[in-house]
């Protein structure tokens, strides 16, 4: 029961909560908040339960549920998770919970609509991470846009309309091309096997000729790259981030960006391995540009939020680099960095939001000397900043280190260029920190700022705990994601007909080790089939 139902619950509980909000009168703000927080809280606890009952070290998908949805098209309600999704789900629920909590005071306009959007968004995000059917994936992928659009558009800043439309249009542009590509592989698979299916795992075995694979890959990659965002498709991000309300920025940076990289890992790499290898240098190149470029541009930002936004470009560049290093270290580092970025940037946005609430400005030049009046705030800010810089023993270090290690293996030039990002991160983050937190109080308005309230501390503390937990004991994450990553790499390597791409050092030894640790995808497919059979038997 638990096994097969939990993902459904996890996905649709927030939606149920959202509709429950509609039963409450819109003036009844307290009840609305309570329902929203309770829903998000239960959701978070559910995800913890999921985490606890997750079978570590197993490659096959877990908690699978597979029911026919649109039988004519072979669309199934097929959900399931592996370590990769698990971690992202837990991160999503935590961030959403905290984001909702953080909105307690800051959101006063159309409260019911706000929480409705947040919860609706949560369903969309979880859906993306649990979907094992390409169609279901696409549906959630798009659905998610809608509440985000409202969040930015209604509760956003001055240029919110421009930002929200830009956000939606950018994302739509990619995802619509993805839709065509998706249909193409659907029919290609049908031609090869005579089966109509959108089943992700089944589609992994699709064997397209390189030419076709190439453009289909690029279509998918474009959709994901916009979401990540990869340079030069990033320009929606600063706008959206700056204009979005705090919680929106947190979710946007924390979760939505991860969907792009998740898409690469879940779809692009295993489904189009040859094309992935072929275009890896391109993706890496863009990732590297993103790392350096994002950092440089972040350096001269005047608005704290847009600084953090550009830092996201840089950090997500790291993630992309790690993925396309196409080795264990890089990819696991990338996955970890996805979590890290969510936590750290989430914390940063929350922090910026807290000060924005007090001062109604985010301009760096409007601050200075905050440490004096808000020491606790400054401490949290410092921790988040350091985590963003990638200081050892914080989460950021582990991820970045692994990515760089992996990238260095793939090609030393990659590693070297990317490592400059480490320097640049220190420059822009610390410079900002210096101008905001340190120095003398130069603006009168800042003299009487109140330090963090209990609620605000409660929002930030979990993130700080996560920052250090992952920094100190990343193995909890690594061992959960390892089978999933190994599986992806295995598929990619099998398809590799250009062995020189992997350096000689990256010999069979380590690969075999990966194999030994994890029963890889043949078993996976078998187990899938077994499950399928047993299901069809019971029906």
């Amino acid at each position: 029961m638990f096994e097969s139902q939990i993902l459904t619950w996890l996905t649709f509980l927030p939606l149920a909560g959202a509709f429950a909000l509609l039963l409450v009168k819109k003036e009844n703000v307290k009840v609305i908040k309570a329902i929203a927080i309770a829903t998000a809280g239960i959701e978070m606890l559910l995800s913890f339960a999921l985490y606890a009952s997750f079978d570590v070290g197993v490659t096959r998908m877990q908690f699978v549920i597979n029911l026919p949805w649109v039988e004519q098209f072979g669309i199934n309600y097929h959900l399931g998770i592996d370590g990769l999704s698990l971690l992202l789900i837990v991160m999503t629920t935590i961030l959403t919970f905290l984001a909702i909590l953080s909105s307690w005071r800051s959101v006063t306009k159309s409260v019911r609509g706000y929480y409705f959007s947040m919860l609706f968004l949560l369903t969309g995000m979880i859906g993306v991470f649990v979907a094992l059917d390409l169609f279901v994936f696409y549906v959630f992928w798009e659905v998610m846009l809608v509440p985000m659009y409202f969040l930015i558009g209604i509760w956003g800043g001055l240029k919110r309309i421009y930002a929200s439309i830009k956000f939606v249009l950018f994302t739509m542009f990619g995802s619509l091309l993805m839709l065509v590509a998706l249909l193409y592989i659907y029919f290609a698979y049908y031609t090869q096997t005579g089966v109509h299916t959108f089943d992700l795992i089944a589609l992994y075995s699709l064997n397209l000729p390189f030419g076709a694979q190439s453009w289909v890959y690029l279509a998918f990659a474009l959709a994901f790259a916009i979401k990540v965002p990869i340079w030069p498709l990033h320009t929606w991000l600063p706008d959206a981030h700056v204009q979005a309300p705090t919680a929106g920025s947190v979710i946007l940076a924390g979760v939505l960006l991860k969907m792009g990289t998740y898409g690469f890992l879940r779809i692009c790499l295993p489904m189009f391995p040859e094309a992935s290898i072929h275009y890896a240098p391109l993706m890496v190149g863009l990732a590297l540009i993103g790392i350096v470029y994002g950092a440089f541009v972040a350096m001269v930002q005047k608005d704290i939020k847009s600084l953090v936004a550009f830092s996201s470009v840089s950090h997500m560049g790291f993630v992309m680099l790690g993925i396309f290093a196409l080795n264990t270290q890089g990819m696991q580092g990338a996955v970890l960095q996805m979590l890290n970025h969510g936590i750290t940037t989430g914390a940063l946005f929350l922090i910026v939001g807290m000060i924005y609430e007090r001062r109604h400005t985010r301009m760096i030049s409007d601050f200075g000397g905050i440490a004096k009046v808000m020491p606790v705030f400054s401490a949290f800010f410092l921790i988040a900043t350091l985590s963003s810089i990638g200081l050892p023993l914080t989460n950021g270090f582990v991820g970045e280190f692994m990515i760089l290690l992996g990238a260095f293996k793939a090609n030393w030039i990659y590693g070297t260029i990317a490592a400059t990002g480490v320097i640049l991160a220190a420059i822009y983050m610390l410079w900002m920190f210096q101008r905001v937190i340190w120095g003398k109080i130069t603006h009168k308005e800042n003299e009487n700022l109140k330090d963090l309230t209990g609620l605000e501390k409660a929002v930030l503390i979990p993130l700080v705990v996560l920052i250090f937990w992952i920094g100190l004991a990343p193995n909890a994450m690594f061992k959960r994601m390892e089978p999933a990553v190994a599986n992806i790499l295995h598929i990619v390597r099998q398809a590799d007909n250009a062995p020189e791409f992997f350096s000689a050092q990256d010999g069979e030894e380590e690969f075999n080790q990966d194999l030994a640790n994890t029963p890889v995808d043949q078993q996976l497919n078998q187990s899938q089939e077994n499950e399928h059979q047993s299901e069809t038997l019971t029906q």
Partner: protein, 481 residues
């Protein structure tokens, strides 16, 4: 006289008869002073009766009246679309008509007769009957477009629609004439059966005929470049009439096109590139023109042009899934568009309105549910999952991709990308902008609520649980083979 094979089975015509009788009844009662108020009720009753008969006919495949009437899955599904459209249209009409002081019983009669014409169009294989049906459908529409005689816009809409319609009818009739010339028959079954020998003996008549017929119906479905009337007429006609316009005649036009092109001229390859071009033009121009409209009705007019383009994609592709997808799309589109227009109608019952974008500024604050529904319809029109709009597009584009029309699919998705912008604008005005002046209260009557409910459920339901409707569309297609 030879009546063998006549099969004068009037039960075939029950839906049509139901409509005709209630139409007559409305007119008769309308003469009396007290009977004037029965228009709406009788109209609804007639439509529901027709709906019931249609459902009861479902699954049958019968031809009668010397082969002039064919009731099959195809006609049933289209009848369903017309009747649903009719029901919802008149449900949303009442309060609007009253508010504009044009609540006359003839209105309902005209709607009923127009639907009757559509049903005639959809339930036959004979091109002449299709033509007659088209005229029965169109003439009430001309009148309906100009129904608000006090409104100069309505007058203009009526005359424009009429002149253009008559002009297009000329082409259509000439096309039918040429096809008739090729085979001495207007029966599409005969044409389809003897297509190759006909194409051998007189290809040009077939080609030119098909092209002209395409033009004739292209006008009805507002395919570019035969679309010019649509924005003006949509804008000028009374809002509920516009709602009806955007679904009924369009669906009927496509029903006829499907019968003719996907059945009668199925073997004619030459028509495909023309359809391809028309589809691309329609999608591109429709969406482009909609971009910067400041009038919602006009925007929706352009959007309906664009949507015709998507269905033309299905027609271009031809074949089973394509035609079925076209039907599915129309079905979904009916709900979505009527829903959008229902809300527009509600808003237009306020005084001094002209469906401008600025009029819905800050609507969400005053009417959150109405605004949310409008947003749902807009997202659905834009093709966001999990709505009918999305699934319809998916269905159509999957057909295109399957048949190798990948470029068509790509152009299609790119144009629908453009469309996202203007649909989002509605949401922007409604939700993001603040009202400059207090947003006038609107009142909802139960019929409106039911109409909104039906359309909303349809718009989402067709996307979430499409299986049943896909089956229906496929059966419908299968039946006319």
């Amino acid at each position: 006289m030879d009546f063998s094979g006549a099969n004068l089975n009037f039960s075939l015509l029950l839906p049509e008869i139901a409509l005709a009788i209630s139409g007559f009844a409305i007119l008769l009662f309308g003469v009396t002073k007290r009977g004037k108020d029965f228009g709406f009720g009788l109209g609804l009753l007639g439509l529901l009766a027709a709906l019931a008969f249609t459902v009861q006919q479902w699954g049958s495949l019968e031809t009668g009246f010397f082969g002039m009437v064919t009731k099959d899955g195809f006609s049933s599904l289209f009848n369903l679309i017309f009747l649903m459209g009719g029901v919802i249209s008149i449900m949303i009409s009442r309060s609007y008509l009253i508010s504009k002081g044009i609540d006359k019983p003839e209105y309902y009669a005209l709607i009923l007769f127009s639907i009757l014409g559509m049903m005639v169009m959809a339930s036959t294989y004979d091109m002449i009957i299709i033509f007659l049906g088209l005229e029965i459908m169109s003439i009430p529409l001309y009148v309906l477009a100009g129904f608000n005689r006090k409104d100069p816009k309505s007058n203009e809409a009526g005359i424009k629609y009429f002149i253009m319609g008559a002009f297009a009818s000329g082409f259509l009739l000439y096309g039918i004439a040429l096809v008739y010339g090729a085979g001495a028959t207007t029966d599409l079954r005969l044409i389809a059966a003897n297509f190759h020998s006909l194409a051998q003996s007189s290809p040009m008549f077939l080609y030119a005929g098909a092209a002209l017929i395409l033009i004739g119906f292209g006008f009805k479905v507002a395919a570019v470049p035969f679309h010019m009337w649509a924005p003006d007429v949509y804008q000028g006609a009374p809002t509920p009439v516009t709602a009806f316009f955007s679904v009924g005649p369009k669906a009927a036009g496509f029903a006829a096109l499907m019968r003719i092109l996907a059945f009668g001229f199925d073997s004619m390859d030459e028509i495909q590139p023309i359809l391809w071009t028309l589809a691309v033009l329609t999608m591109v121009v429709g969406n482009l023109l909609a971009l910067f409209q400041d009038n919602i009705k006009r925007m929706l007019a352009y959007s309906s042009i664009a949507h015709a383009g998507y269905i033309l994609v299905a027609l271009t592709v031809g074949g089973e899934s394509a035609v079925a997808s076209g039907m599915y799309y129309l079905l979904g589109y009916t709900f979505i568009n009527l829903g959008a227009f229902a809300i527009l109608t509600i808003l237009d019952t306020r005084d001094g309105t002209d469906s401008r974008f600025s009029e819905i500024n800050g609507m969400a604050a005053r009417h959150p549910y109405l605004a949310s529904l409008l947003a749902i319809f807009m997202f659905s029109l834009a093709g966001f999952p999990p709505t009918a709009g999305f699934f319809g597009k998916l269905y159509i584009f999957s057909g295109a991709v399957d048949s190798g029309f990948i470029w068509l699919a790509i152009i299609g998705v790119m144009t629908s990308f453009v469309s996202v912008y203007y649909y989002m604008r509605v949401v922007v005005y409604c939700f993001f902008n603040k009202s400059d002046h207090p947003f006038a209260q609107v009142s909802l009557n139960p019929y409106l609520m039911v109409a909104l409910l039906i359309t909303a459920v349809g718009a989402i339901g067709l996307g979430v649980l499409p299986s049943f409707w896909i089956d229906l569309s496929r059966q419908a297609f299968a039946s006319f083979l």
